[in-house]
Symmetry: C2
């Protein structure tokens, strides 16, 4: 074993690799320990249960979605344009993950059905980013809304069909490859936000 003591992060790395390799159904704590060259008891010094380990892997994986979204949120230009780009970026990220990491994505889809902690935190972060854009739009007089947070949650709700993993199966359908289904919803949302 290494001279270095085992860190939480190294365990997470090994767990993510193993998960990607064997899939969520076939990954055991012993597999993860073996990848690290330690006994499985040691893994339990860093995570209280297999569920917590899986949640932590998932959280890190979800958090990697944030930087591109934060970049869009910080851009210049009309709030409406930024919001549209932000939503399209979110949708794009989800689809990319569904394609590239089908196993991790399936685990995420399952957890979001159960509305578990990690996913709730993820959603809260998404809402906060939208709220920042909405608040900018309110400040510039472009949007008329009462409460940026509540409105942000409504925007996320209204576009559920396009980013919630329960609908991932439909993302492959031909008719979804372009924004034909998204655009009419986007029109509703943008005009719903617009000051008049």
């Amino acid at each position: 074993m290494a001279a270095e003591p085992l860190t939480r992060d190294r365990v997470l790395d090994a767990a993510e690799d193993t998960l990607r390799r064997f899939g969520p159904a076939k990954t055991t704590v012993v597999d993860v320990a073996r990848a690290l060259g330690v006994s499985h008891g040691t893994v339990y010094r860093h995570f209280a249960s297999k569920a917590q380990l899986r949640d932590a892997v998932l959280q890190r994986w979800l958090e990697r979605m944030n930087p591109p979204l934060e970049a869009v949120a910080r851009e210049d230009g009309p709030a409406g344009d930024r919001l549209r780009r932000w939503l399209l970026t979110l949708i794009g990220q989800k689809r990319q993950r569904a394609r590239e990491d089908p196993d991790l994505f399936a685990a995420y889809a399952q957890l979001s059905q159960e509305a578990r902690g990690v996913v709730v935190a993820h959603l809260a972060h998404m809402t906060r980013m939208i709220a920042a854009i909405v608040a900018d739009g309110m400040a510039s007089g472009e949007f008329a809304a009462e409460d940026a947070e509540v409105t942000a949650a409504a925007v996320l709700d209204a576009t559920t069909r396009f980013h919630h993993p329960a609908f991932a199966a439909q993302w492959e359908d031909a008719q979804w490859n372009d924004t034909a289904a998204f655009d009419p919803v986007w029109r509703l949302v943008l005009q719903g936000l617009a000051a008049r």
Copy 2:
């Protein structure tokens, strides 16, 4: 056996009863035949497969949701009010079914994941009803929309979270009992539709 020859409808009745009693997982074609007092081969004279029988039961069950919705669609008054009532009726129907027929509802939830024929037809019908209300709103100058059908589909998409069975688990949560989550989305939709 009865003097009457066995009808498709009597098979459907028996299948629905059996399904309700045993649940989708435990219902066999033999069970349905037994409830009718015939051999299971006879059931196959009316439905080509178990899947077709299940789809037909589900279709009838879904169609029973239509009358109250059609009643709302035919009411008088501003299109905005009618559309809101229609959506709340749809949401109410779904929740009622989720509570009263959990097994049939679970079967429906499963099928809508796979976007199967019955469900696609059901969705198309829902869209047509909304389109009628939207068209009325356009005629009266209350709404500004380009295409009533496309807009209707967008309204259904934007409210997915509140009527799609994938979210049924959340319908029981305290925060969903009132319209606290629905109202902000409704505001977005209504203002998105409104002529200015």
